[in-house]
Amino acid sequence: MQRFSALALIRHAFGGHRSWRPQWRAAEPKAAYDAVIVGGGGHGLATAYYLATEFGISNVAVLEKGWIGGGNTGRNTTIIRSNYLFDESAALYDHAVKLWEGLSQALNYNVMFSQRGVMMLAHNVHDQQSLQRHIHANRLNGVDNEWLSARQAKAFCPPLNIEKSMRYPVTGAALQRRGGVARHDAVAWGYARAADAMGVDIIENCAVTAIRRGVGGAVEAVETTRGTIETRKIGVVAAGNTSTVMAMADLRMPLESYPLQALVSEPVKPIFPCVVMSNTIHAYISQSDKGELVIGAGTDAYVSYTQRGALHVPMHTLEAICELFPIFRRLRMLRNWGGIVDVTPDRSPIIGKTPVAGLYVNCGWGTGGFKATPGSGHLFAWTLAKDEPHPINAPFRLDRFRDGYLIDEAAAAAVAH
């Protein structure tokens, strides 16, 4: 792998940047691999990277039906935080945040992880109770999260409107200072480059179309649009398309796939110093390194794979944005898009084994899995390599929908992203 650095940049500048090499190879599929990862999003690529770096399994293919990072990894509002309520979730997401903190260096790729602080607003007594419950639980779990009064919230984020005359005035906020954002594309590319350097084959334009199983039902191979590939371990990390892929192994998943929309404004000079989320009035917003305000809208109500949605969804979000930040009312929407999020009944992910031997699944991240990318990849790699879950992902098993041990962050707090 050619090292990236300021020096390298200067050196290449003299050569007119002629000698940069591809960041990852355009690999041709081989006949067989020790493990095949279905889905070249952040989670799939990270899984391959950790399989190679931590578990010594580098004869791995990542199969991506389109271009890597083109799924939700390339469409999300990049909010990263770990102030989840339940012990299981806090452990999972904080594992990821810790990995984020050294990721640029580990990958030798600047993923622009920016710990600008994620502030979640309270607008009524119920919100306050719910956020306080999070804060207390987080503190005992060693996850930073603190309560701010409305005024302190405004000091932290000056554009915020805290006028009492608002329809739902801000009554306070929970702030996780270690939370922030990262450059989504760089995460996919950085993992791809580093995994490729370890020998992982990243195969784009290669859709998995069938899963072949042998005696006893164990997986044997995947059929793809680029031929059959044999393998004894398949890790499905296909986000919105997981139900479709798992159906190839006759598994009916507890998932529904919904369009989730987001949008950006025209770029403006730095004005917004952090990330703000309001679950009650449905808005979340940050400003990217390039200057656009990155704004998350809601999901459309129905199952769909169209990667677009209805107009009323971003309209609703922008109502909330204009109410919270009336100075942004004259700014303009530059682009709006949608992704397909795979949602579980308890809004927590599924990471683990399946009833089919050799088939593993990592899905159900819904509206909030970008933040988990490094942790998810690491834990899933562990699970694939050892054929058993890491203690952190053990509770996130598929079986919980049979016996009822749900990890219901949604029911507990209804805070998603």
Partner: protein, 1009 residues
């Protein structure tokens, strides 16, 4: 100030209305009908901004919404608006405009050092550096990168303007009012269709606004246009909208339009909306959006004064502005000749027409030569000079293989370029229409697949005015036929596409310089050069989507209108693939940026979300009540007396209820009336409780579950008759519960004979609670026997209060003797006041939700949503007694036997008493079983190292008990009665004792006081 570049005659400007405006504080003059761009050009101003990354001086390139460079801030104070395109800003008297992205000034910008160091900033450079030392990212690199980014400044004051919204329907929505769109609108109207025609420009006409010689139907273009607009205006079936951009296309033919109402006015009428967002549902859509001209990619093609040829022609003919006096015209498409000829006719010196094509022949070249214009075939542009405006170009002959010959210089003050045209298929593609690449036209053309959307005119590759008009007619007729139905027999066929047309060029122009060093811009706004695109390919970014994201080409505020096709051409050749095999990036809304305010519309302040208030709201308000938001409702939280805080008010209110009588507005509770012979059976299935044995006139506390076994809602149910139940729900749960009930009734048990009616809003509910409550009510009710014997706890009676019909419940959420008076809502205020007057001598006290919460907690009553959270079963909160044990089934029953639901370690509702009675626990505080080693944690975020076994759900100071009390959910809580547990707080650990959750009057004696 004289407008030196303005022609004395011609154009569509109104010379009788001069307007003054400022640009970067300097005063200029223009005319009504000008855009800011045309007025600046009329004043000889080309330099209007600095580029995003390299801060290069930039000028006006285009004449429409495709302008990539001339982004300007307009207005001041509260109406300051950044990033507007000068080409779309209409001039008004007093307009204040400022250039952007420079320091200290447009002419002298320190940021321009970036241009010098640009070799260090190739595409994606930031991914490769700024990683060491790690800590410098946050403190140094990132703030620096961020400060460089962004174009304009965001406003800093709240926007005072209003925005309107409107829904509309039509048979045919026609987007674009050029010749094709107007012809389509006329044709559709003539065939009986309801038509909406919109165009983003100030005037209808599109390309016709810059036509003077052409004729349509034997009329001159301007008079055809005037007649057509007059005709459209007269028709009752047509609504035409100028200044209205169709910005997005959504499923099932919904199109979003945004109409700009006041930005072009010097003094808009007070309160007039600034913009109006239209949501149009069209049976058929005709896209007549024309085509966008493409720049040519050559070294230093971005200097001010280098502009699109057809744009220059429009400035000349529509605005009577000469963009320069000595023009070099760079042609890869015949339209450049047309511009050259028109400019020459207005005495702009055409230094040369430099045609990259090998053989500049054909009618246009002949006409140019005939007009005496120098035409150079097979010639390329190798570079340009000029600091703030182009002063010369370097040209050279070139061979088809790209070999470049001897160079020479042409002095000029403007360069006009035309690389060809790109059909405006944005909305078609947003609607998931299929595209086909035409090698001849070098363009993607619409190719079906978008239901109910057809294209006409230049946007489907048709050129030539007659053909475009005929195509518009055909599209208008067909739209009318498909929308209105079979009334039209013969429809004109769409004009066949002539693919001998001139497709222009997608490749950069050849030159002699190192392609790794020169800047030949592709995306002007994001400073993406041809070499950036090639670098991306070299680095292994093979998908056009990756190339876009790595280089940011097409991601600026113009979304690649002028650049995407050139970027694609370069990428395709670098990848050595045909253009269609590389393909376009995804088109997304909006077509041009749309104001947030237009999306938000009227939703601000009180219109942000309905404010629902009860009948006694004004009374409570007058009494100084503090309200809280519960869903959309405003509820009185407490009624402080002068100088009283919440704590004091709540203690006083509770005391009043416990000692004499209090009055509380419970109107927000959801109410559903369930009627029919099978009502009880329906209730049996929906609730965990049994209902058969409940006598008419009696009430029961009911609990209902989701199918997964968790508590959905609860509330008191009164049986009014054997076939009629009056059900109450929580305030927030009302709509959800009704939907849940309708769902089962309609889809699972449609055989049951019973019906649901929402009655939440029919009844005002006045709770009168406390030992004196009966005495107060007795004075107002004469047809109901209120005695305990006649009307025991948990009963309901119908009768009258002060002559007004009432459903009177004897229920209690406070643990005291109490009643809830239901009266028709419009009587709520009067009855409330009557009760208040009747209780005056007993010091009746209004109390709010906070006191209500305290009192119910003293009694261990849960609040769904506070003590439960969607994971809680009836048993968890001690409600197993409510479950009808004999019932075969009810919603959620099966789930209660799943392993997780019967786990002995589930969290259960308990009471907690802090060891220190003064102390009130924090709601949400966590509970652990053993005293931690460090009573005071070392650092704020150090993990406790012990499993949390529960949390506090409700906690108050109880005046009645004179101590803090709390409800909590604790793992295996009921086993732990009497145990001491610990609540670790940042300040230290609090000891608590686990108790029964009923703190007060466990035998319920007070209910019958």
């Amino acid at each position: 100030m004289s407008a030196s570049c303005r022609l004395n005659a011609g154009g569509r400007i109104d010379r009788s209305r001069p307007l003054r405006f400022t640009f970067d504080r300097k005063v200029y003059e223009g005319f009504a009908g000008d855009t800011l761009a045309s007025a600046l050009l009329a004043n000889g101003v080309h330099l209007v901004g600095r580029s995003f990354k390299y801060h290069r001086p930039r000028g006006i390139v285009a004449a429409g919404s495709d302008e990539p460079n001339a982004l300007i801030a307009v207005g001041s104070d509260v109406r300051f608006t950044p990033n507007l395109r000068a080409t779309q800003v209409e001039l008004y008297d007093g307009l204040v405009a400022q250039s952007q992205n420079h320091w200290p000034s447009l002419g002298f910008d320190f940021g321009a050092v970036n241009d010098v160091f640009s070799p260090l900033f190739p595409a994606g450079f930031y991914y490769k550096t700024f990683m060491w030392p790690k800590s410098a990212w946050k403190r140094l690199y990132e703030p620096k990168i961020r400060a460089m980014a962004g174009l304009g400044r965001a406003p800093t004051l709240p926007d005072p303007d209003n925005y309107a919204q409107r829904h509309a329907h039509c048979d045919a929505l026609i987007i674009g009012a050029g010749p094709a769109g107007i012809a389509a609108a006329l044709a559709a109207e003539a065939h009986g269709a309801r038509v909406i025609l919109c165009d983003e420009q100030a005037e209808l006409g599109g390309s016709l606004l810059a036509e003077r010689k052409a004729t349509i139907d034997a009329k001159s273009a301007p008079s055809w246009l005037a007649d057509a607009v007059a005709k459209l205006s007269r028709s009752a079936k047509v609504r035409w909208l100028s200044r209205t951009t169709a910005f997005g296309s959504f499923p099932h033919n919904m199109i979003g339009l945004v109409e700009r109402l006041t930005d072009h006015l010097a003094a808009p009428a007070e309160g007039r909306p600034r913009e109006r967002l239209w949501q149009v549902r069209a049976k058929e859509v005709v896209l007549a959006t024309g085509a966008l001209e493409r720049p040519l990619v050559f070294p230093d093609n971005d200097r001010p004064g280098i502009m699109l040829a057809d744009a220059a022609r429009q400035y000349l003919l529509r605005y009577a502005v000469k963009p320069g006096s000595r023009a070099v015209v760079a042609a890869a498409h015949d339209e450049a000749y047309r511009a050259a000829i028109e400019l020459a006719a207005e005495s702009v010196e055409i230094v040369a027409i430099v045609d990259i094509r090998e053989d500049a022949s054909g009618p246009w070249a002949d006409r140019a030569r005939a007009a005496g214009l120098p035409v150079l075939s097979a010639t390329t542009i190798c570079g340009t000079r000029g600091r703030h405006r182009v002063s010369s170009v370097e040209i050279a002959p070139c061979r088809p293989d790209g070999k470049v010959g001897a160079r020479s210089r042409l002095d000029c003050d403007v360069v006009l370029m035309c690389g060809g045209f790109t059909p405006t298929i944005h909305l078609f593609s947003q609607a998931r229409g299929k595209l086909r690449f035409s090698e001849k036209l070098n363009a993607f053309l619409p190719d079906g697949g978008a239901e109910g959307i057809r294209c006409a005119g230049a946007c489907r590759g048709i050129s030539g005015l007659d053909a475009v008009v005929a195509d518009g007619v055909a599209a208008g007729e067909a739209a009318a036929r498909d929308a209105v139905g079979g009334r039209i027999e013969a429809v004109h066929a769409p004009v066949p596409l002539s693919e001998d047309e001139d497709g222009g060029r997608l490749e950069p122009l050849p030159h002699h310089r190192s392609p790794h060093r020169v800047k030949a811009f592709v995306d002007f706004q994001n400073d993406v050069t041809a070499k950036d695109v090639k670098l991306a390919v070299r680095e292994g970014f093979r998908s056009i989507e990756h190339i876009k994201r790595y280089t940011t080409t097409g991601m600026a505020t113009d979304q690649g209108k002028t650049s995407n096709m050139n970027a694609l051409g370069i990428a395709a050749s670098a990848l050595d693939k045909p253009v269609p095999a590389v393909g376009l990036t995804t088109f997304r809304m909006p077509y041009t940026p749309v104001t947030f305010g237009a999306f938000a519309g009227s939703a601000r302040g009180n219109l942000f979300d309905p404010v629902r208030v009860t009948a006694t709201h004004d009374w409570a308000s007058a009494k100084g009540a503090v309200f809280e938001d519960v869903g959309q409702w405003k509820r009185a939280r407490y009624f402080p007396l002068k100088g009283e805080d919440m704590h004091g008010a709540v203690a006083r209110e509770c005391q009043a209820v416990r000692q004499s009588v209090g009055i509380f507005d419970g109107s927000t509770l959801g109410k559903i009336e369930i009627v029919g012979p099978d009502a009880a059976e329906f209730m049996n299935r929906i609730y965990v409780n049994p209902w058969n044995k409940l006598e008419p006139g009696r009430c029961r506390y009911g609990v209902m579950l989701r199918e997964d076994g968790s508590i959905l809602d609860d509330g008191v149910v009164g049986r009014l008759a054997s076939d009629r139940f009056h059900v109450t729900t929580t305030t927030g749960g009302a709509a959800q519960v009704l939907n849940h009930m309708e769902d089962f009734l309609q889809t699972e048990w449609s055989g049951l004979d019973c019906w649901l009616t929402s009655a939440t809003e029919q009844w005002a509910v006045i709770a009168v609670q406390g030992p004196d409550s009966r005495k107060v009510l007795e004075r107002l009710v004469d047809d109901i026997d209120l005695s305990s014997a006649a009307m025991p706890h948990m009963s309901v009676r119908e009768g009258h209060i002060c002559g007004v019909p009432t459903r009177l419940f004897r229920v209690s959420f406070t643990g005291e003797l109490g009643f809830e008076i239901n009266v028709p809502a419009d009587f709520g205020r009067a009855i409330w006041e009557a009760v208040f007057d009747a209780g005056f001598s007993r010091a009746i006290t209004p109390y709010g939700t906070e006191a209500m919460h305290v009192m119910r907690a003293e009694k261990g009553y849960i609040i769904v949503g506070q003590d439960t959270d969607g994971t809680v079963t009836p048993d968890d909160v001690g409600l197993s007694w409510a479950i009808g044990k004999a019932k075969m089934d009810f919603v959620g029953k099966r789930s209660l036997t799943r392993p997780a639901m019967t786990d002995p370690d589930r969290k259960q509702l308990v009471g907690l008493l802090p060891e220190d009675p003064e102390l009130v626990l924090e709601e949400g505080a966590q509970i652990i079983a053993e005293l931690p080693a460090d009573a005071k944690p070392k650092s704020k975020d150090a993990p406790i190292g012990q499993k949390m076994i529960g949390h506090v759900t409700s906690s108050y100071f109880s005046a009645a008990l004179d101590r803090g009390i709390a409800l909590a959910m604790v793992a295996g809580g009921r086993r732990r009665m009497g145990e001491t547990l610990f609540v670790p707080m940042p300040q230290g650990v609090i000891k608590v004792v686990v108790t029964n959750p009923v703190f007060l009057d466990p035998e319920g004696k007070r209910l019958d006081a």
